[in-house]
Subunit: 219 residues, 2 copies
């Protein structure tokens, strides 16, 4: 998996080519869907012959893997770069909004990260680790907002994913589900508080700490 090791004397040029290849693949994916990416088409656009791609990528799945890594990295940086409000619950909402805008602006990356749409493809451990870091970050923010029960973390992420996927599959880029984001989080936090005997205390005073993910498995 992943790109072929370089023994090239001009690693800079080689790296540039590889990035060009990846960028081209993204372009095709945006036009024709992820499954529509073929090595032939990539080579065509990049000005190479199809077999030449094997100097950069060991197989088609390795290309997908590299793309997965890029997508995870992009999501991670976007989401960790956002300025979060001090209130941990408002922070969660802002984080969710940021994540949503990511998949809205990068639907193909979202598809690659969150859906299992390509038949034989599983991300390598290396590429996946970035996605895991993203998840850990989300769990941290939820924890700070008082969502400490792993089951509640599962519920929260599922709700988010449900809203997003309903919106983006039925009315991409629209508002029909998006506008309920805040209401849903309000509903969720009310539910959280309702479970606790001292709801209001738990709200604000939570230390940030890195949890080990809700219950192991990833989204």
């Amino acid at each position: 998996m992943s790109v072929t090791p370089s023994t090239d004397p001009r690693p800079a040029g080689r790296q540039a080519r590889l990035e060009e290849i990846l960028a081209t693949a993204w372009g095709i994916a945006e036009e024709q869907g992820l499954a529509g990416v073929s090595l032939h088409e990539v080579a065509r656009r990049v000005g190479l012959r199809q077999p030449s791609l094997y100097a950069y990528v060991d197989s088609k799945n390795c290309l997908y893997d590299a793309m997965f890594g890029q997508a995870a990295q992009a999501l991670l940086t976007q989401v960790t770069t956002v300025d979060l409000p001090d209130d941990p619950r408002q922070a969660v909402v802002v984080m969710a909004r940021s994540m949503w805008s990511f998949v809205r602006e990068n639907p193909v990356k979202g598809q690659l990260l969150f859906e299992r749409t390509i038949p034989g493809f599983e991300p390598s451990a290396e590429s996946y680790s970035v996605a895991v870091r993203y998840q850990g970050w989300v769990v941290d923010k939820l924890f700070a907002a008082g969502v400490t029960d792993p089951g509640d973390v599962d519920i929260c992420t599922a709700l988010m994913a449900g809203l997003i996927s309903a919106q983006e599959t039925n009315e991409p880029g629209g508002e029909r589900w998006f506008r309920h984001l805040e209401a849903v989080f309000g509903m969720f936090f009310a539910y959280i508080d309702g479970k606790s005997s001292t709801p209001t205390v738990a709200r604000k005073e939570r230390a940030t700490s890195h949890a080990t993910g809700p219950e192991g498995a990833p989204s």
Copy 2:
């Protein structure tokens, strides 16, 4: 779209063959995924040559369309056949559970119905109408349970879909998300009641009536 009109003297035999073809296609889809269905493979298993399938189906997409119709019909009958409790909110939960068990036992049908996974395929109006009937039925039940705001219907269906998809993509057939079904509905109904000034009144006394779907578009 749809199957080719029959001029066959033995329509019963022809119909049987067609059903055999569809059943075979389902079998392949269960083994190799929906995209893995090829006319060659269907023909091979059914004991015909690939071109002979065109006596039953106008194109591959027509095959998918017939499958879509079958899936929608199966879901509709399963979900409308279930014995619902008198309490409209308990009824909604039971309905949701029934829907979930459908996609759990028929993951491929669920994929065809609820995900847009096949590149060039859109269900025909005819096949789709069954799915619309299913949706109308769900909206009716929600309405009876006091979920009358179209926006709330959207929220509810998105939550359900989120739970289901989290469960079935991350841990197919498992319990990790499934066990929160009741809690999530409790949360949702509490949210609904919190919006109304007369929450408890609205709970039980609702007449069943067919609504025109939340806001038009389907899931």
